[in-house]
């Protein structure tokens, strides 16, 4: 199973910034949701290219089935 990591920074005023590493697709959102439930109010969320990697693979599979 792939290694999933979270990099969490807690500022001196308590603000939490968390970054997922090696986590692709919707699992990113699951981890972000989990942290939001643990900590409190979500101020912002940014999705970067790694999030879309798994989604692209799923789309390719759908296309393959579409050719059958």
């Amino acid at each position: 199973m792939a290694k999933e990591e979270l990099e969490i920074e807690i500022s001196p005023s308590g603000k939490v910034t968390a970054r997922t590493l090696g986590v692709k697709g919707p699992r990113c959102l699951e981890l972000a949701d989990l942290l939001a439930r643990i900590v409190g109010r979500e101020e912002s969320r940014t999705l970067t290219h790694e999030y879309y990697e798994t989604e692209r693979q799923v789309t390719d599979q759908v296309d393959l089935y579409g050719h059958r």
Partner: protein
């Protein structure tokens, strides 16, 4: 890179948790927990007082018998953390020869550090309960805490 999320902590805890968090947080600002002493108001001393309410806090009632007040002190400045009737965490700052602005600044520093400690406590406790492992932890010079957590 994949997802970056920014979160503002909401303190929801019972009094024993608050006591532990305050005790752990204030030492880095030179404050220490004091017990069984009268407040300067009870002693009839003239002091400056400043009350600060901690937004985003909800202190749950508990029947554990713990007194819902914790007093910390540093060189003549006292901070009394308590739960008000609405369940909000408050800190009352008292000091002799100090201005309201100074007390407010010190009070805000205390609140920030308590909020940081609470966020740390919640994150570590909850992630460990989900079988995640803390693989690295560092405290920067500016007191920022950095944690690296692994899940398999």
């Amino acid at each position: 890179m994949s997802t970056v999320v920014v979160l503002a902590p909401i303190i929801v805890a019972n009094w024993p948790v608050i006591t532990a968090v305050v005790g752990a947080a204030v030492g880095s600002l030179g404050f220490a927990v004091v017990r069984g002493e009268e407040t300067s108001q009870q002693r009839g001393e003239t002091t400056t007082r400043e009350e600060i309410e901690i937004d985003n806090s909800e202190i749950l009632t508990s029947d554990t018998g713990f007194e819902e007040e914790i007093v910390v002190q540093r060189e003549g400045v006292r901070a009394i953390f308590s739960r008000d009737a609405r369940g909000v965490l408050r800190v009352c700052m008292e000091g002799r020869g100090t201005s309201h602005a100074e007390l407010r600044r010190w009070g805000q520093e205390l609140i920030d550090r308590v909020t940081q400690q609470y966020a740390y406590h919640r994150i570590v406790t909850e992630l460990k309960a989900r079988n995640m492992t803390i693989v690295d932890e560092q405290v920067e010079e500016d007191h920022t805490v950095k944690i690296r957590v692994r899940s398999w």
